[in-house]
């Protein structure tokens, strides 16, 4: 009962405050102009606070302009000071059109033409943290009625977490007319959070019950505070209700963390799988210890970078060993057409890396098929040469690859975040695994590859051109590394030495899975990913998690030196 009285009092107070603001017959614009002209910061805050509850459309742009130093005091020739906002394009002198904050109309110069002012010549109206908070309070309530649901939800949550009793009426009023389900939930939570602060026990208990049903992560902190308060005030019924609500939140958190970890493990495993699959072919099937595998990944990533720039603004390149710079013109695309660059980049990355791989096979590796140690050293050298070429062509700094919008958002279900880039990599990994499996088992080329890898001399005797098959197999493995590079450009660095970050992980994945077996690589990648993420979740320490994963891999290889799946193949003997 008590609570209702206080709520009524508050409502009355708000109405009064609104009334007094209206009595002054100020529009929102006039109020802001008055605040800008006020001398003392405290006075400004007082005037700005009057705007709370107003839904005037001019408030948001003006207050935002103020916060961004785009509101100025202009000394009119008559001697008075006028608050002005500068907008529109700058001309050669840097001048912009000036509109009066007071009326929203352009200010006219003595000549009768609209006045143009240069921002650098004027002093911006000052603001400090306290004033910005006052503005935020005004904007929050303004945002309660914004058409954008996401923005509205955020505004509701901000009000809820502030637990400010004065804002309860506004939320309750909104709850009556709210139709969007997300906003309705947010309102229920926000109202319950504010009611936690109520001095009235039944209201508090009802609020706790509500929070227990909602069990949102955001309510954990206020609930802990409420529990502490109830314990110190010796209020067992409230404390018990708070405990029950906290338990509900905790069990929800556990579910979120469990499925979240599962998803993150799956996505990390997919990343490993994508980068290691190419190596599973070149090292696993062909037996070439290819230390330049990381650079094949980098070729794919740089291809994506080049395609991005060709779709956009164009780019400058240096031709290595000459002092000649080349300018590649860009298509200057924008919007969704530009964003398709990534779709185009994927097959091109495959091709580029495959071509480089075939070149490497023809020039170096084909002489070293029976000499694994030499191939290790030679490909190590090739990797250094390639890194230097990247440096000479693209510069030694990392380059920027922007993520297209369809890969930079997320889908959140029950507080579990499914980043689109992560969902994409899982699908991408599945796609290339199926693709590789189809190529190896259902195509004539696959048949030849398997024949040559099982027994090179026998295949040769049967009239298979083993040289050509070797070349194509190596190209396929390198192309897969290029695909990995295209994807890695979306989640990490693109730079000359990026390949070095992945090469150890690649070998680890392939060796654990069992050399010569692609199914083994799939299982080991997913296993390592899941183990890594679960250990991080349990230990809350990324370094320790990684160390434990490596230790367990060493132990595993002691137990099964040939990996998960043991392959019998003559080429490996």
């Amino acid at each position: 009962m008590n609570f209702f009285y206080s709520a009524l009092r508050l409502l009355a107070f708000t109405a009064l405050a609104l009334g007094s603001a209206l009595a002054a017959a100020d529009t929102a614009r006039q109020t802001i102009a008055r605040a800008a002209l006020a001398e003392a910061p405290a006075q400004r805050i007082e005037i700005i606070t009057l705007l709370i509850g107003s839904g005037d459309e001019s408030i948001a742009p003006l207050l935002n302009a103020w916060k961004e130093d785009a509101l100025f005091l202009y000394s009119a020739p008559a001697g008075s000071k006028i608050p002005v906002q500068l907008s529109g394009d700058k001309d050669e002198q840097g001048a912009q059109a000036a509109t009066s904050v007071d009326t929203g109309q352009p200010i006219l110069a003595p000549t009768g033409r609209p006045l143009r002012l240069i921002a650098a010549d004027l002093t911006a109206v000052e603001h400090n943290g306290a004033l910005r908070r006052a503005m935020k309070a005004v904007l929050d309530l303004l945002d309660l009625s914004t058409a954008n649901v996401e923005k509205r939800v955020r505004a509701i949550q901000t009000i809820g977490s502030s637990q400010n009793v004065e804002k309860l009426p506004a939320l309750q009023a909104r709850a009556k007319i709210e139709t969007a389900p997300a906003a309705q939930l947010a309102l229920r939570e926000a109202i319950a959070l504010i009611q936690l602060k109520s001095p009235d026990t039944p209201t508090k208990l009802a609020a706790l019950k509500e929070l227990e049903t909602l069990h949102t992560i955001a309510s954990a902190d206020p609930l802990k505070a409420a529990l502490k308060e109830a314990e110190t005030a010796n209020h067992p019924s409230v404390a018990n209700a708070a405990r029950a609500a906290l338990n509900a939140v905790d069990s929800h958190l556990m579910t979120v963390n469990f499925f979240g970890t599962l998803f993150r493990g799956l996505s990390l495993g997919s990343v490993l799988l994508v980068v290691a699959l190419g190596l599973a072919i070149t090292f696993g099937l062909m037996g070439v210890i290819n230390m330049a595998h990381g650079e094949m990944i980098a070729v794919g990533a740089y291809t994506t970078y080049v395609v991005q720039n060709l779709f956009g603004e164009g780019m400058d390149l240096m031709i290595p060993f000459t002092r000649i710079g080349v300018h590649l013109p860009g298509a200057h695309l924008t919007g969704w057409v530009y964003q398709t660059y990534f779709i185009v980049a994927i097959p091109l990355s495959f091709l580029a890396a495959a071509v480089v791989g075939i070149g490497l096979e023809r020039s170096v590796i084909r002489f070293l098929y029976r000499r694994p140690l030499e191939s290790l050293l030679a490909t190590w050298g090739v990797s250094l040469v390639l890194q230097q070429l990247f440096k000479l062509t693209f510069g030694s700094n990392n380059v920027q690859v922007s993520s297209p919008s369809y890969l930079s958002g997320n889908w959140t279900y029950q507080d579990i975040i499914f980043g689109w880039n992560r969902v994409f990599v899982i699908g991408f990994a599945a796609f290339i695994v199926v693709g590789v499996w189809l190529v190896l088992t259902k195509t004539p080329l696959g048949l030849l590859i398997r024949a040559v890898m099982q027994n090179r001399s026998m295949a040769s005797c049967m009239g298979i051109r083993t040289e050509r098959v070797n070349m194509l197999t190596f190209g396929l493995g390198s192309g897969l590394a290029g695909l990995a590079g295209a994807f890695l450009s979306q989640i990490g660095n693109v730079g000359p030495s990026m390949g070095q970050n992945y090469i150890v992980d690649c070998f680890m994945t392939v060796v654990v899975g069992g050399v010569g077996n692609i199914a083994g690589t799939v299982i080991s990648a997913l296993g390592i990913g899941l183990a890594d993420q679960s250990l991080q979740q349990i230990l809350l320490n990324p370094v320790l998690g990684k160390i434990l994963v490596l230790v367990s891999i060493i132990l595993f290889l002691q137990w099964r030196p040939a990996g998960i799946f043991v392959t019998r193949s003559r080429s490996l003997d």
Binding site: A120, N128, G129, R132, R133, R154, Q157, T158, S161, S162, T216, I217, A218, S219, A220, D221, P222, K224, L253, V256, G260, T261, R264, S267, L268, V271, S396, N397, N398, V399, Q400, V401, S402, S403, L407, S408, G409, N410, T412, D415, I417, G419, W420, N421, R422, Q490, I491, G492, N493, G495, N501, D532, Q533, Q536, Q537, L540, N541, P542, V543, K546
Partner: protein, 420 residues
């Protein structure tokens, strides 16, 4: 006749050569430049070499120091910490330089420190560091923790932030800085439960490490970002990041993909300046914060002149290996620049290049109006300077949102802030 003339010419040439030689020895002063020009740190440190050469040229054009032209001796530390000590020894014992400007990483500074103390040399160190050190042989123009990290916390507190998540790369600077920040936050009344990232305690229960750490080259930030998302769910949260180098790219990409932004949970980074920004994804960083004692966007005539002069020098310089396009200025560069001028002022006040005399003059409180405003030297070899907080913009520059004037450089901060 002809032989006479040739003889005369010969004698003349000899005399000229001799006088030139002596003039050269008398009119120059050797100054060491000790930075990594190769290896992993080269990307950052080469810029400091460039700005130092620019400063020497600028001073030499105006008559030098005490009438002597500066003669730089540039050596390469090659991102190899023991090599730094070797090179420092060479500069001091062989080249007998009057002063050295150099080092970027704390570990390189620690490795040359004994050499400078043994030979009574003088080293100017320009890059933000963790403090807890004060040698009479090092002039720290660098930002101390209270000239970068604690002002950033003050800014966040004024913005109404209540929860702080600490994240960093796993080495001495982030670890020490976060311990100081932990004490500072507690002293400001932030409860331990509102400080995220986890704690490590020793047997007695004393916290020995605060915050979350990832190794150099870490690429997978999913778990950490998910943790921050839950940490920030109740609002009013922020992240304080001492992540170094290119680990920022996967972190910020993951951060954006998880729907976190500068609006919902801002990140202030202490290791991203204009120079590092060149290799980062601009779109994902817009609105996030940086905190330094200089930004290129500072709108003063002194800074505009500095930026323009540096760009002009880049165009005309004949030193090989200097990148001329797309160059920016950043805080470590300006602190190198300011360091040279402070040394010059100290030498002129002392009237000598002798290290002890120069140090005495330096400690007496000299001022210089640099691109970032006035800097003043202190008794403890650190400098008082202005601190700025900036929001990153898409063009790689910072918009200054807050400044603190004349912040005293205090290296000893551990145990200074007491919890209420």
């Amino acid at each position: 006749m002809i032989t006479k003339i040739t003889k005369l010419l010969g004698v003349g040439a000899l005399a000229l050569g001799a006088s030139f030689g002596t003039a050269r020895a008398a009119d120059t002063v050797k100054v060491g430049v000790l930075h990594s020009l190769s290896g992993t740190m080269a990307i950052s440190e080469t810029s400091l070499r460039d700005v130092l050469l620019f400063t020497f040229d600028e001073i030499n054009a105006k008559g030098g120091v005490l009438g002597k032209k500066i003669e730089p001796v540039v050596v390469d530390g090659a991102s190899n910490w023991p090599l730094f000590a070797e090179k420092a020894k060479q500069l001091l014992e062989q080249d007998k330089v009057a002063v050295t400007f150099g080092c970027w990483t704390s570990v390189s500074r620690k490795s040359v420190l004994p050499v400078y103390e043994k030979n009574n040399g003088l080293l100017f160190y320009p890059v933000q560091y963790e403090g807890e050190e004060e040698s009479k042989n090092v002039a720290y123009t660098a930002e101390a923790v209270n000239q970068q990290a604690t002002p950033a916390v003050d800014y966040y507190l004024a913005e109404g932030k209540k929860k702080f998540y600490l994240l960093g790369s796993d080495y001495v600077y982030p670890q020490t800085t976060n311990l100081v920040l932990l004490e500072y936050l507690l002293s400001k009344g932030v409860p331990l439960a509102n400080i995220g990232g986890g704690f490590k305690k020793d047997e007695s229960g004393k916290i020995i490490s605060a915050g979350k750490y990832t190794p150099f080259g870490h690429t997978d930030y999913q778990q950490i970002v998910a943790e921050i998302k839950q940490f920030a769910a109740s609002g009013d949260a922020c992240v304080i990041s001492t992540l170094n180098g290119d680990t920022n790219v996967p972190f910020f990409k993951e951060y954006a993909a998880a729907g976190l932004s500068a609006e919902t949970c801002p990140v202030v980074s202490f290791s991203i300046s204009e120079d590092e920004f060149r290799g980062l994804p601009a779109k994902q960083l817009v609105g996030q914060l940086g905190c330094w004692t200089y930004f290129q966007s500072i709108n003063t005539p002194a800074n505009k002149k500095f930026v323009a002069d540096f760009q002009a020098w880049l165009k005309t310089t004949k030193t090989p290996g200097i990148v001329k396009e797309g160059r920016v200025t950043c805080s470590p560069m300006v602190l190198s620049y300011v360091g040279v001028y402070l040394w010059k002022a100290a030498v002129e006040k002392a009237g000598s290049f002798d290290v002890d005399k120069v140090r005495a003059a330096y400690q007496s409180g000299l001022s210089f109006d640099g691109p970032g405003g006035k800097v003043t030297t202190q008794k403890n070899m650190h400098v008082t300077k202005n601190v700025f907080i900036g929001e990153t913009k898409a063009d790689g520059q910072f918009k200054i949102v807050k400044s603190f004037d004349n912040v005293y450089g205090e290296p000893w901060l551990k145990g200074k802030f007491k919890a209420k």
